[in-house]
């Protein structure tokens, strides 16, 4: 009997280390995210979740370790190849990070033009991109007329929707979500989660989301992992989050004061 072929994970991280001065933020993280999986990473503040995402995105250079996308090490690839690998990633920032010097429509159009690959012909003109931005705004539940507004005129939930529209502009096959429901009321949080799930499914993307919100984690993810002091201490199905059998994970997900995780005074 032959062994079934082992598929290469979409994202494979091995021995990732990152320290800022004497503070170790990532301490040998190993993580595989299979193609089509929505991985949710939970963990307390300062546990290294955002740094992990930023290392994959190339915003922070790790001290050691490997990050592979489709089996190719991003960290050692030539610059042009790194850019090409990362071009397939869409990112929704915690505060949406919309460009406040542009209108909402221009924000989304910027994503469309910036993420355009030369292999797909000449980039769309500004007018075409603005028209396409209107379609994307509709896709995230916003009226295209919102495109004329400035980001500062939008509520937090609307800004997240626009950020999502901009993130999906290039039809990314990897998507990152940095605390997508932070600062939103529970209903709007559920709406954003629903949009995220729809977008990820529609694009067939692989997703990584970091969050403190357990309801959101279970809505978005089908796999979950927990970071604690820069290490991955648990991985499993997202449905097991509230009953993982791991004392640290259970304390975190149920928000208990007592347990193995203690709040430390910052040194």
């Amino acid at each position: 009997m032959s062994t079934p072929p082992v598929s290469t994970p979409k994202i494979r991280i091995r021995g990732l280390h990152k320290a800022f001065g004497s503070k170790i933020v990532l301490d040998g993280v190993d993580l595989d995210v299979e193609t089509g999986t929505s991985m949710v990473i939970i963990g307390g503040s300062g546990s290294g979740k955002s740094v992990l995402l930023r290392c994959i995105l190339g915003l922070i250079e790790p001290d050691a370790g490997t990050i592979e996308i489709d089996g190719e090490n991003v960290l050692t690839a030539p610059r042009s190849r790194q850019d090409a690998l990362r071009r397939q990633i869409g990112m929704l920032f915690q505060n949406a990070a919309l460009f406040d010097s542009m209108s909402v429509g221009e924000n989304v159009a910027f994503g469309i033009r910036a993420k355009h690959s030369d292999r797909n012909g000449p980039p769309p003109s500004r007018a075409q991109a603005l028209q396409m931005a209107g379609d994307l705004l509709k896709q995230v539940g916003l009226d295209p007329s919102v495109g004329d507004l400035s980001p500062s005129e939008l509520s937090g939930g609307m800004q997240k929707r626009v950020g999502l529209a901009r993130a999906i502009a290039g039809n990314p096959n990897i998507m990152f979500f940095d605390e997508p429901t932070t600062g939103l009321d529970p209903i709007m949080g559920a709406v954003i989660d629903g949009l995220i799930v729809d977008c990820v499914q529609k694009l067939g993307s692989t997703a990584i989301a970091i969050t403190h919100d357990m309801a959101s984690a279970q809505r978005i993810g089908n796999r979950a992992a927990m970071l604690y002091h820069g290490r991955l201490i648990w991985q499993g199905e997202a449905s097991e989050l509230m009953n993982s059998g791991n004392a640290m994970v259970d304390q975190f997900t149920h928000g208990r004061r007592e347990g193995p995780i203690t709040m430390e005074l910052r040194k």
């Binding site: 930023r54 995105l57 190339g58 915003l59 850019d83 990362r86 071009r87 990633i89 869409g90 990112m91 920032f93 915690q94 505060n95 990070a97 919309l98 460009f99 406040d100 010097s101 910027f110 994503g111 910036a114 993420k115 901009r166």
Partner: protein, 261 residues
């Protein structure tokens, strides 16, 4: 022992910090300039920076130059009266304005207005993740935010200084004719006799250098700002103070280079 060594150590640390900062600034400038020859170039950002730096700074630079020329004429009249050489006023005004006051005052005004705005805008983008968002959208932030602004600053300030030169001379002319009783034709003749192409050209070269420095300090401090609103505020202060000091330092160096012989 420590009382002797500690101040020396502190001085050494400060010197090393200054050298490190100068090195970081030089590397930042080199990286930004390298994007000038590597497409794409963001023309829209360039033109909007050009308008912001050049056009919208016109009123403040114009008023500064006008009054400076007028004050020089007035002060020279009072001072030169003691030696009965009031006729030299036109020459003094045109020389002071084209060589020094035009470039330096326009530079300081633009540093306060545009350098601060650049630093605040880029700094806010840094602390609200907008610069990281640019990177995730396959856009090099240095190429997009810094390079067009450096070029715009370098080109806009000479244009402003040309206007400042004309208005500075006009300020001197107005006071001399309307208040001090000079004949308009005599004043204009004396001005044209004293006006040298070299003075104007050197003033414009100075202006280009000042414009580059103002944009560089604004972008550098904004780009490296940290820590929210307070960090952006500190970056803005550092941009204006740093640009003003560098501007005066380079004014001396360029004056020495062009006029010392």
């Amino acid at each position: 022992m420590n009382a002797v060594l500690d101040p020396i150590a502190a001085l050494g640390r400060a010197a090393l910090g200054l050298i490190k900062q100068a090195g970081a600034l030089a590397l930042f400038a080199l990286e930004a300039l390298s994007h000038l020859v590597r497409p794409p170039f963001y023309w829209r950002i360039f033109f909007s920076s050009l308008i912001e730096t050049g056009f919208f700074s016109l009123p403040v630079v114009a008023l500064t130059a006008l009054f400076s020329g007028a004050v020089i004429a007035l002060q020279s009249y009072v001072g030169f009266g003691q030696y009965h050489v009031q006729s030299a006023i036109a020459g003094i005004v045109v020389l002071a304005v084209t060589r020094e006051l035009g470039p330096v005052l326009a530079g300081l005004m633009v540093a306060g207005r545009v350098g601060a705005a650049m630093s605040a805008q880029i700094g806010t983008m840094r602390v609200t993740d907008q610069i990281d968002a640019l990177t995730t959208l396959s856009t090099n932030p240095m190429k997009y935010l810094v390079t067009p602004r450096l070029l715009a600053g370098t080109l806009a300030l000479p244009c402003l200084v040309l206007v400042a030169d004309i208005l500075g001379v006009m300020g001197g002319f107005t006071v001399s004719v309307a208040k001090l009783g000079f004949s308009p034709s005599t004043y204009i003749t004396a001005t044209l006799d004293s006006l040298k192409t070299m003075d104007v050209v050197v003033g414009l070269v100075k202006a280009a250098v000042f414009g580059f420095l103002i944009a560089l300090l604004g972008c550098y401090n904004g780009y490296n700002s940290r820590g929210g609103a307070e960090g952006v505020g500190s970056a803005t202060t550092a941009a204006v103070v740093g640009a003003s000091i560098l501007l005066l330092l380079f004014d001396y160096l360029l004056t020495d280079l062009f006029f010392s012989q």
